[in-house]
Symmetry: D2
Subunit: 236 residues, 4 copies
Amino acid sequence: MTTNMLTHDPLIIVNFKTYSEATGKKAVDLARKIAEIGIKTGVKVGVAPQFCDLVQVVAQVDVPVFAQHVDPSAPGAFTGHVSAESVKAAGATGTLLNHSERTIKLSDIQKAVLRSRELGLLTVVCAGEVESAAAVSLLKPDMVAIEPPELIGTGRAVSKEKPDIITNSVRRIREVNPTVKILCGAGITTGEDIYTALKLGAEGFLIASGVAKASDPARVMSDLCEAANRFAERSK
Amino acid sequence: MTTNMLTHDPLIIVNFKTYSEATGKKAVDLARKIAEIGIKTGVKVGVAPQFCDLVQVVAQVDVPVFAQHVDPSAPGAFTGHVSAESVKAAGATGTLLNHSERTIKLSDIQKAVLRSRELGLLTVVCAGEVESAAAVSLLKPDMVAIEPPELIGTGRAVSKEKPDIITNSVRRIREVNPTVKILCGAGITTGEDIYTALKLGAEGFLIASGVAKASDPARVMSDLCEAANRFAERSK
Amino acid sequence: MTTNMLTHDPLIIVNFKTYSEATGKKAVDLARKIAEIGIKTGVKVGVAPQFCDLVQVVAQVDVPVFAQHVDPSAPGAFTGHVSAESVKAAGATGTLLNHSERTIKLSDIQKAVLRSRELGLLTVVCAGEVESAAAVSLLKPDMVAIEPPELIGTGRAVSKEKPDIITNSVRRIREVNPTVKILCGAGITTGEDIYTALKLGAEGFLIASGVAKASDPARVMSDLCEAANRFAERSK
Amino acid sequence: MTTNMLTHDPLIIVNFKTYSEATGKKAVDLARKIAEIGIKTGVKVGVAPQFCDLVQVVAQVDVPVFAQHVDPSAPGAFTGHVSAESVKAAGATGTLLNHSERTIKLSDIQKAVLRSRELGLLTVVCAGEVESAAAVSLLKPDMVAIEPPELIGTGRAVSKEKPDIITNSVRRIREVNPTVKILCGAGITTGEDIYTALKLGAEGFLIASGVAKASDPARVMSDLCEAANRFAERSK
């Protein structure tokens, strides 16, 4: 599957974290539900399962798959590291980097972005606030995701609770990088959250518990995708 | 496959690190060669591929498979971590912990050993010298692997260069833990290295470049396994 | 001042953490109060201020002073590290290691204990639970401090809430190290907490907020020291 | 002492790392030599000794003093951390951050810069290559220092070996931050290295072994400062 993820069309990536609801066979099931809603609504979607689950999700579901992290090291004597090569060999489309639950050194973000680019992996670099988001944008990742850590997992959406973070990030990022795709996340659970964020300038979303731990993930995913479509409709 | 790995019979685990020679499909190929020599010689063998490759190796090769590391965290909001649950769901038999290339905090070794045991994963905790090896043995892993970091990857075998480390580790470990299986590693490339180490009290081996980067891994593996058999023969 | 800290007499070390109540000149003031109570009651006491405050406390107060951490690296190109040499040059008596707020790798505990011993610095290695406490005791520090992290700073004393951790730690530590001095800590604020812990087998204490953040640190310190004396009296 | 360090005049900061030649009393001696050359030549100079040595150097030498690192945490229960408050209380003028020997997470750079600013401490954020240097400049430190890690400690000066890194960094940094003072470092040992770097656009220097481990630090320091003056002369 080769949808171009880097257009200005809304993109929704679901981060499976290490949730037991999204591990092993359940990772495949969840990815399948998300992919189906993507196809039904025409909205671009992606999934970010655990390392061990990448191969199965890639093999069994037609959806772009992201790793949740890669280490910056080249192949070699690095026991226990996650090489970008192994993620690429697993068939992944890209990787998250520097998530607030797996923050890494600035020099490692830089190296991991470069290695990923060489291997043809898309990078989504996360940042917790405005200035860091601008800073990582200078490292030329394909996407940057702004997620205030204090809202992650709360169900209180960044677009409602801290709309300024989105608008200011978009403004500051665009000053230094005119093309990086700008995602946001943290606390997003409803179509309304999505719609508001798109109005504020976001171009995509990194969502985790809102979908992965929902009692009916497909229903939530539908709600989110339909909101993205309503916004696209309005914008025409 | 359910060989009991914790007997006193020699065990040889090959660590694939992040070597490009042992990533993706090449991980499966290498694991297959190792498994075949294990069957042919009757020596217990295991492999430790990268996280992304665990599922494929488990599915395609009849050999005990170890992860190279797991994080101590329970399932949950831990983006980018390697949960023991995901490793278990991938079908792994166990995991390495605290390898010198992926050392972790003492408290995390303790937590990871406990979680792994709950999930039925065997643990191989690595240590670089005698006192640390005894210390980790107190945490009751299934196996402990002594590897002087300065010899890793050198081809200068621990059993030849630093035999005292093996004999002293065996003595100190046995004072505090009478049952943990004792592996050693670092620089081992020949059957002679294996034979010497077994004489010194080692009960198994953690080997990486010696096999994984060999021009003919099957031949090296044969050499190692035959030496293990020669030792067993002699001991009768 | 050269009281022998490693006898079986109770020892109370106050950890200043990075509390603003115990930084800069306030570190000197607090250390002086603690030293005075030590002299008045005859109980052995020590203080562990921040790195930047070591020199002043050593110069101005007659009390054994501990760093809160040292890095394992030898002197050299290690910008931003805390060398054991600099701590020794500051006149410190010893150092804490592996506190739950500054946990370090097992191999680094081992190296830091060795370097400290070479330099004549006493080491107090912390551990959060029974098995880790026994494990670090094998590395032959001068003292081990058991502090369940979940009780630190709560005012709920380990000796009341989890007496088993003390008794089991003492038992397990003594099996592998007959001489290391055994401290405990976490939540200790009253003489009664001290008395109970001594009865359970503790030989000393690592205390932080209970003294450093008390409205009247001298009064609390008196209470603690008098309890230590009551226990010593009873034991005769 | 309150020289304004942030003008465009050349500034030379000597990083003492954990060199034994620059620890304890030797830190005071070395700082004194550096300060004297600064006064004699009229060139702005600074020193960055170890944490434990800050108080003594501040008390005994009239020179701006920098810590080598601070942790981002606020005062509190952070045993073993280096609080910006303790560095400020020691009388320091500022702090280095993210040196290649003490790299930190991007989010921690951001927090440490903010805390330092609140406390009136100047920040010198280090970066190893062009894009990272630009990225950290967005976090609005007072100074940024570009040091290719592969040249640190080699005696092969960045201004000779990799002049492009200086010119490109200056250009990229100025695009996103017009005022941050731009230092460079790595391998600088002679006045000629300084002169070349100033021509390439550097406004100051972070130097370590070139001075601190020199057989005659005062002579080297003189050479460096005189080169800075020759450059200033030429520029008039």
